[in-house]
C-alpha cells in the first residue's frame, strides 16, 4: 500500500516519541519534508491530488453504465477514490488524445484486446503492472492472458471481458431460419439493399469479407476478392455505424434490418424488447477487452481498482449488466445462469470455440488495410 505524506510524518513522529529517532534527526527530516512540500512545483500538487482519483476511459453507453454502477460506485464508496470517466466511440480516437496529452492525464482504458494492445506498446504508452497487487488475476482465463504476455512479458493490461461481432437482424423482416441459413451472407443479400448496416471498422469489414469468400481471416490469400466483397457490402449498406449508441439507434429505429453487431449491445436491445435476433455464424469475429493501465498512471491505485473490478462478485455483476461474459475462468469461479446464456460465452474456459484475430498477423497489415478501407468507405 502506498503511503501518504501525512502517514509518513505520523510514523516519523511515532518513532521520535518512542525514542527510535533523535530529536535532531526528527527535526531534520520534518524540515526536509516541509521544504519539499513548500518548494514543490504546481504539477507536484496535482500529481499528489491525482491519487485521490483515477481516470477511466471506456466505450460509454450500456457497457460503461454497468461498469460504473457495479464497479466504480462501490469502489469509490469503499476507498474514497473517485473514478473520473470519459468515453470514446473508436479506440483510435482515444489513442490520439493520449498521444497529445501528458503521461498520467489518461490512466485506465477499456481497450479492445491484443490488436490494440500492440498500438499502445508501439507508441510507448504502456506501463508495467505489479501482478502481486492484483491477486484476483488468479481467476482470469489463462488463454486470455497469454496473447498479451507474448507481446510484453510484463503486462500493462488485464483481460476483463469478451464477446463476438455476429449478425444482428430485425426479426420482423428476417426470420431466424433465414438468418441461420444465410449466416454472414445476409450482409450481401441484395434483397436487403439499402437496409444493411455494418461497423465502420477495417477489421470487422475485412473479417466478414473473409467469411463471405471462404477465406481464413487470420491468413488471407486473395485480398482483391476481399476488397471486392467489402465494396459489395458498402454498396448495399445504408450506413456504417461508428459507435455502439449509433448501432442501437439504427437497429431500434428500423433504419437497418441486418448488420454485423456487438453481441452485448444486441443483448441490451433484446432486453429493451426490440425485435432483434442475433447469430454467430461459423468463424464469427471474437474479441476480448482488457483494462489497460497507461504509462504515468498512479499504479497502486489503478491496480487496486482493477483488482476490485476482477473480484468475482463485481465482475459477475458488471458482466450481467453489460451483457458480455467476464474474463473469469468458469472452472474456477461459479458464474450465473444469466452469464451462461450470454452470446459468445465459453463454458469450457479454453476459448477454443471462438475465433480471435491473430494480433501479429493483423498488426502487420493494419496500416495498409486501414488506409484501403477508409478509401473504400468513401466510395473509392
Amino acid at each position: 500500500m502506498k503511503l501518504t505524506t501525512t502517514k509518513r510524518l505520523e510514523r516519523l513522529h511515532d518513532r521520535y516519541a518512542n525514542g527510535d529517532l533523535s530529536r535532531r534527526t526528527f527535526l531534520t527530516l520534518t524540515a526536509a519534508a516541509a521544504a519539499s512540500a513548500g518548494l514543490s512545483m504546481p504539477w507536484m500538487g496535482r500529481a499528489l491530488a491525482a491519487v485521490e482519483e483515477v481516470r477511466f476511459d471506456g466505450w460509454g453507453g450500456t457497457v460503461q453504465d454497468a461498469i460504473d454502477k457495479f464497479a466504480f460506485q462501490p469502489y469509490t464508496a469503499k476507498t474514497k477514490i473517485k473514478v473520473v470517466q470519459g468515453t470514446f466511440g473508436d479506440e483510435d480516437e482515444i489513442i490520439t488524445k493520449i498521444k497529445t496529452a501528458k503521461p498520467g492525464d489518461y490512466q485506465v482504458i477499456h481497450s479492445s484486446g491484443v490488436n490494440y494492445y500492440i498500438k499502445y506498446v508501439n507508441g510507448g504508452l504502456t506501463s508495467e503492472i505489479n501482478e502481486a497487487n492484483i491477486p484476483n488475476m488468479a481467476n482470469v482465463l489463462q488463454p486470455m492472458i497469454e496473447p498479451f504476455r507474448k507481446l510484453t512479458p510484463k503486462l500493462s493490461a488485464v483481460p476483463y471481458d469478451y464477446g463476438t461481432t455476429g449478425i444482428a437482424y430485425n426479426t420482423k423482416v428476417i426470420s431466424p431460419e433465414e438468418a441461420k441459413e444465410k449466416g454472414a451472407a445476409l450482409l450481401l443479400d441484395k434483397k436487403y439493399a439499402g437496409k444493411v448496416g455494418g461497423y465502420s471498422d477495417m477489421t470487422t469489414r475485412v473479417w466478414y469479407a473473409a467469411l463471405a469468400t471462404g477465406q481464413d481471416p487470420n491468413n488471407l490469400k486473395d485480398m482483391d476478392t476481399i476488397w471486392a466483397k467489402v465494396r459489395e457490402t458498402r454498396d448495399l449498406a445504408k450506413k456504417f455505424w461508428s459507435s455502439g449508441a449509433e448501432l442501437m439507434d439504427l437497429l431500434s429505429k428500423g433504419e437497418i434490418v441486418v448488420t454485423d453487431a456487438w453481441s452485448g449491445r444486441v443483448a441490451a436491445l433484446q432486453d429493451q424488447g426490440h425485435p432483434i435476433g442475433y447469430l454467430d455464424p461459423a468463424g464469427s469475429y471474437a474479441w476480448m477487452e482488457d483494462m489497460l493501465i497507461l504509462k504515468g498512471s498512479p499504479m497502486t491505485e489503478c491496480e487496486e481498482l482493477i483488482n476490485f473490478m476482477l473480484d468475482p462478485a463485481t465482475s459477475i455483476a458488471v458482466a450481467e449488466g453489460q451483457s458480455y461474459p467476464p474474463s473469469l475462468d468458469p472452472t474456477k469461479v461459479k458464474l450465473t445462469d444469466k452469464i451462461a446464456k450470454l452470446p459468445a460465452f465459453d463454458p469450457t474456459g479454453t476459448m477454443k470455440a471462438l475465433t480471435f484475430a491473430d494480433p501479429v498477423y493483423w498488426a502487420t497489415n493494419e496500416d495498409a488495410w486501414t488506409k484501403q478501407w477508409n478509401r473504400i468507405s468513401k466510395g473509392a
Binding site: D92, E93, T96, G123, G194, A237, T370, G379
Partner: protein, 313 residues
C-alpha cells in the same frame, strides 16, 4: 516678438491636440503604448494560431512509421502522395462544390428573413433577433442529430406521409448529400441572416425615401438602393458560410454516408483512424491553404473593408 509667441502657442496647441501627456514619459499615442496594448492579442495569436500551424506544417515533412508512430526524419513523401493521388484532389473539389452550394443557398434563403427583420415595424424586433440566436443554445451535435428524427425512415416526415397514404415506402432522405447540405444550412443560416441584417441596419433609410420620392416603385428602390448597399453583408455571409461549410466534418459524419464525406472527414480519418499524423497534417495544411486562398481572392476583389463593414465593423 508677438508673432513668435503666437507661433509658439499654436505649436503647443497642436501638440496638445496630437498628444495627451499622461506622465513624464508616456503619451496617449506613444507607439510603445500601442504595442503594449496589442501585445496580449499578438501573443495569443502567435501561441495559439501561428505556432500550432507552424508545428502542423513541420509535421507534414515527418515520416510515418506505423499507426501512432512517426519519426522526425524529413521526407516529402506526404506531399508527393497528395499531389499524385487523385483521391485527395477529388475530395477537395467535392468539398469546394458542397461549400459553394451551401453558401449560395444560405445567401438565397437567408436574405429574406434578414430583410423582413430589418423592415418590420414590429415593436419587439429584439424577439426576432433572439429567435435567430436560440439554436445556438443547443449543442451543435444534438441539433444535427435531430435531423435523423425528421428525415429518417421512422422520422416525422416519412411517418406522416405513410399514414396519409401519400407514399407506400419511406423516402430515402437521410445519409445522402442532400441531407448533408440541409444540415449545413441549418447550422449556417443564422450566420448569414445576422450578417445581412447588420448590413441592412447600416443603410440610411432616408435614401430609400428619397428614391421613392423621385418616382421609384418599392421594387425599384429595393433593387437600386437597398440591395446594392446590403451586398457587403451578403458577401461577408457568403464567405463565412463557404469557409465553415467546406471545413465541416461532423455534419457529413452524422447525416451523410461514407460517399458524402468532405475533406474534413479525410483529415479526421487519417489522424484519428489511421493514426497517420504526418499525412493528416499535410491534408490539414492543404485545406487551410485552399480556404485561405479563396478568402484572399474574395477579399481582394470584394475589398476587405466592405466585408469588414458587412461583419458589423
Amino acid at each position: 516678438m508677438k508673432q513668435s509667441s503666437l507661433r509658439e502657442h499654436k505649436r503647443l496647441e497642436e501638440g496638445a491636440l496630437l498628444r495627451v501627456r499622461m506622465n513624464n514619459r508616456w503619451t496617449l499615442y506613444d507607439p510603445r503604448l500601442a504595442w503594449m496594448l496589442v501585445a496580449p492579442v499578438l501573443l495569443l495569436l502567435i501561441f495559439f494560431l501561428v505556432l500550432p500551424i507552424a508545428v502542423m506544417a513541420a509535421y507534414t515533412f515527418f515520416t510515418f512509421v506505423t499507426a501512432g508512430v512517426e519519426t522526425s526524419a524529413l521526407t516529402a513523401a506526404n506531399w508527393q502522395e497528395f499531389f499524385t493521388d487523385s483521391y485527395y484532389s477529388g475530395f477537395l473539389l467535392k468539398t469546394l462544390r458542397v461549400g459553394a452550394i451551401t453558401a449560395l443557398l444560405c445567401g438565397v434563403l437567408g436574405y429574406f428573413p434578414a430583410y423582413f427583420i430589418w423592415a418590420t415595424s414590429f415593436r419587439h424586433k429584439w424577439l426576432l433577433l433572439l429567435l435567430l440566436i436560440v439554436p445556438f443554445w443547443i449543442s451543435f451535435t444534438i441539433r444535427t442529430f435531430s435531423w435523423i428524427n425528421i428525415l429518417g425512415e421512422q422520422g416525422v416526415i416519412n411517418v406522416a406521409l405513410l399514414r396519409m397514404g401519400i407514399i407506400s415506402e419511406p423516402l430515402p432522405m437521410l445519409y445522402n448529400e442532400g441531407a448533408v447540405i440541409l444540415g449545413l444550412l441549418h447550422f449556417l443560416l443564422p450566420y448569414m441572416i445576422l450578417n445581412v441584417y447588420v448590413s441592412l441596419e447600416g443603410i440610411d433609410r432616408t435614401l430609400i425615401a428619397a428614391a421613392r420620392s423621385m418616382g421609384c416603385t418599392s421594387a425599384q428602390a429595393f433593387r437600386e438602393v437597398t440591395l446594392p448597399l446590403s451586398l457587403p453583408g451578403l458577401a461577408a455571409g457568403l464567405l463565412l458560410c463557404f469557409v465553415l461549410a467546406a471545413g465541416s466534418y461532423v455534419t457529413p459524419q452524422l447525416l451523410g454516408s461514407g460517399r458524402d464525406a468532405l475533406f474534413g472527414n479525410l483529415i479526421y480519418d487519417t489522424i484519428m483512424g489511421e493514426l497517420n499524423w504526418p499525412m493528416g497534417a499535410t491534408l490539414s495544411i492543404v485545406l487551410f491553404l485552399v480556404l485561405g486562398f479563396f478568402a484572399a481572392i474574395y477579399t481582394r476583389y470584394m475589398g476587405m473593408s466592405q466585408i469588414v463593414k458587412g461583419l458589423g465593423g
